[in-house]
Symmetry: none
Subunit: 194 residues, 4 copies
Amino acid sequence: MKNNKPKYKLIIDAAVDVIAENGYHASQVSKIAKKAGVADGTIYLYFKNKEDILVSVFEEKMGQFIEQIVTATNERENASEKLLTLIEMHFSQLAANHHLAIVTQLELRQSNLSLRQQINRILKPYLVVIDEIVKEGVEEKLFRSDIKIPLIRQMIFGTLDETVTNWVMNEEKYDLIGLAPYVHELITKGVSVK
Amino acid sequence: MKNNKPKYKLIIDAAVDVIAENGYHASQVSKIAKKAGVADGTIYLYFKNKEDILVSVFEEKMGQFIEQIVTATNERENASEKLLTLIEMHFSQLAANHHLAIVTQLELRQSNLSLRQQINRILKPYLVVIDEIVKEGVEEKLFRSDIKIPLIRQMIFGTLDETVTNWVMNEEKYDLIGLAPYVHELITKGVSVK
Amino acid sequence: MKNNKPKYKLIIDAAVDVIAENGYHASQVSKIAKKAGVADGTIYLYFKNKEDILVSVFEEKMGQFIEQIVTATNERENASEKLLTLIEMHFSQLAANHHLAIVTQLELRQSNLSLRQQINRILKPYLVVIDEIVKEGVEEKLFRSDIKIPLIRQMIFGTLDETVTNWVMNEEKYDLIGLAPYVHELITKGVSVK
Amino acid sequence: MKNNKPKYKLIIDAAVDVIAENGYHASQVSKIAKKAGVADGTIYLYFKNKEDILVSVFEEKMGQFIEQIVTATNERENASEKLLTLIEMHFSQLAANHHLAIVTQLELRQSNLSLRQQINRILKPYLVVIDEIVKEGVEEKLFRSDIKIPLIRQMIFGTLDETVTNWVMNEEKYDLIGLAPYVHELITKGVSVK
DNA sequence: CATGAATGAGCTTTCATTCAT
DNA sequence: TATGAATGAAAGCTCATTCAT
């Protein structure tokens, strides 16, 4: 019984594993090809070059990541609840996929400017999702309107990202998902008492 | 009149410039040596290997960076003011040194696990400074005590880091330092109204 | 209405164009197949391998080339006139077909020994034609008999070939055909006065 | 006792041998390096890239080739004698160096346009030497003035080149140098009787 | 006959590091 | 200390050829 998965997907999945296991710079194309069970040359029938594999990995995985979050947050009533759901989903999806967490938090950052810019382009829709939740909160008079939204979004994304990165670098030893309500509390209420 | 700076420092400074100008991956040892005005081989009298140059660059620059912040925050009366000063100093020091900002926010992230861990070790004292300000705030009953300090520190550092990275990736087009009070407000009060 | 030319000929013609346009080393089999409107694999139903395409190209085109010259020279009365006709035909056929001129004068020379030997084999009949004209001239007491025919043939072919190559490398800027009588004069009378 | 020849010359000589033995396309840089007794990387301290090795080989050898001919022809009294000496030297130098003959007559022709143009540039001085002998002959009223010099030069060079190529392709089985007077006779007097 | 997806061997060039001087 | 010429391992990508359909 042969493997019927389309080669594109086979290669993407192999790339996630290989990058997570070996790190970005030790992920030779030949290693990815071997893991995917295809010839080296086959990679180039589906991807323009090595960088294109990485971008596609991120595009593919990030697409699913964002879709899950959008679906889940849409089921919530107000901006604060949506924000909590976003945090929970952000944490839970990365906690559920060890390799993906390593790739997004560590490996994909080791890239040159060109790749970085493409990653930012892919990340954009997620930032837009955050922006929209914040806007909604402002309209609902739940969130402050005296600070520019991009700055608020940077705080939210920066906090989530730093929290996940710390968790990954601590070898995922503690419960990331359990932190969600505390992070939500911090973001909404801030560090000050009352 | 020849340059009397010790070669160690010459090489460190050359490395910062070369990395900022060419990017991490295009920063060959020979380029750094040329900029520093020494022979390639001389580099290896002062540094174990290429990675050691990078770690030393970060160590050197980060040491000064932290020292400045510690000195400045010590002159403040309470935790909230200290936090504001820390934010201002964090922003102003990077805004004042274009090359250093690029190196810390973009280039040094493109490194392998080993280098990343050493960078974290170097970053540790800065995180400790943040922790201490938070602890002081808690003792002063200014900051909340119901959330673990590491989480609060991650929010603070994550927000600052994300804000600076965005500013660098936007080609430093807007006034970073001017954002300090708003970021401080967000961190202390949160996104919620009141 | 689809193209009814037999695929063999389609491929040969495509190969001439592709080689002339892209040069020998950039003439991938897939490019020739695309231009011919057939699948890559189809090529191998008609040709043993890539080299075989090139040999066949030369064989095909050279066959026509020689045939034209034989026909035309046969209409002449004596060796000297035949030689002039041969020169005129040699020049005019290449001048009339830009792509063929590039392929014969430049691209086909960039080949390995095996291909070169096959090309020589194909060229042989042309050299025989020259030899026969010379022999005829000797019999008619028009041409000298004190120098071996192969040497005379080398002078004739060498002169023609060098003249055409120079014209091609000068981007065919001047009138090649107009040179025929001068070249004929040089070959028959030599460079010396009287 | 180590080899004191400068590496540049070592590599040039190794390249001639390797190309003659293996042919142009099978002459990997690593093969040349091995033959020269240096590391692969060392090649790139002396040559810009692989093509540069080939150009340099031709430049170096052709320089000597031309110099010898210029020196020898300058010792002759008139244009006809100079031409004979040029032919003799052209033949004898290639006959004396089997590898060089193969490289110049066969291997260096298998090159792309860029390399071909560089080779032509290097060949230029030789063509100028021929031109000058012809001009001298015209002034001395020995050579005809009714045909443009470039055409005469093409006949001369074409004849010599074709003669040498034939000799090389016939595995150098006959005496090339002995052909010189006959070739000279053909060039000066032509193929016609009287 | 025809297809075209898949194969995988093959090669130039870079650059961190060494070491004889 | 300082030099810089020399080293040589390492890897992305191409493309002629095959073969299952």
